[in-house]
């Protein structure tokens, strides 16, 4: 493990991603609360076990809890929850992939290898974003 060298002061990738990590962390906590409160308001009071709770919290998609006991899926099939899903996906995936970048760059030096790792991580980010936004937009519709 080696200290990371910051190229220049001011606005650079490390500072922007440092800030984004904080903002997206807070945003995911708030979006999780929105998911839980929304699920409780829509009648999921006795049917929620931990996996169901986590699924509603982090990805409020009607197809996502196909095996749970939620009786009525209709209130979730709404554009509001699609927006919430896409927000959670964006903040979560970006936060996670950036975290992976931070962890990996603790163990590599600033060289061709770093560019390779960043490029690969960007491709993974793009792939997961496309897949997850697709899943959110093509979910159960009324």
């Amino acid at each position: 493990m080696r200290p990371r060298v910051v190229p220049q002061r001011g606005l650079n990738l490390d500072y922007v991603m440092w800030l984004f990590t904080r903002i997206s962390g807070l945003a995911m906590v708030l979006l999780g609360l929105v998911g839980v409160v929304g699920a409780l308001l829509m009648g999921a009071r006795t049917e929620m076990d931990l996996p169901t709770l986590m699924r509603w919290t982090f990805f409020p998609n009607p197809n996502h809890v196909i095996n749970s006991d939620i009786p009525d899926m209709l209130p979730w099939a709404h554009a509001y929850w699609q927006v919430m899903q896409i927000l959670v996906i964006f903040f979560g995936v970006s936060h996670g992939i950036n975290g992976l970048r931070v962890v990996l760059e603790d163990y590599i030096d600033r060289s061709f290898f770093q560019i390779l790792v960043r490029g690969l991580l960007f491709l993974i980010w793009l792939g997961i974003m496309i897949v997850a936004v697709y899943l959110a937009l093509t979910s159960y519709q009324v």
Partner: protein, 128 residues
């Protein structure tokens, strides 16, 4: 940890204390969540689009109580530890109390995790 020095197993005896443990759990949990959610999304996608049962196979692991106990440990710890980091970054004058903040964090974590673990074990013993 100086780069280039062979420290071997003595690195495990590094006496960083509670804050170092928090850093370690935060890191392990973060990577674990990236792997879990990444495979979960890809498995659901292949399940939906290609019609294979890879997603169902993975869900057998993901819905088991043991896996959820470990996953919930890391998710909850990462959340509470992240909130501590955000709060101390917003008010850096409190950084000198970060050892105490780590204890507050464990005081929040242990009851929250213990409660959920209790109900998970009870439900799994009841066959739920």
């Amino acid at each position: 940890m100086a780069f280039g020095k062979r420290i071997g197993l003595s690195g495990l005896k590094y006496k960083g204390g509670g804050t170092m443990l928090a850093w370690l759990f935060h890191r392990i949990g973060g990577v674990a969540m990236v792997i879990f959610i990444g495979t979960h999304i890809l498995a659901s996608f292949s399940n939906q689009q290609l019609g294979n049962d890879l997603g169902a196979q993975l869900n057998l692991i993901y819905t088991s109580t043991r896996f959820q106990a470990v996953l919930y440990f890391f998710v909850l710890f990462h959340t509470i530890n992240g909130l501590r980091i955000i709060l101390l970054d917003l008010w850096p004058q409190f950084l000198k109390y970060q050892r105490e903040a780590t204890w507050v964090q464990w005081a929040l974590f242990i009851p929250l995790y213990g409660m959920v673990l209790y109900f998970m074990i009870v439900n799994s013993l009841a066959g739920g």
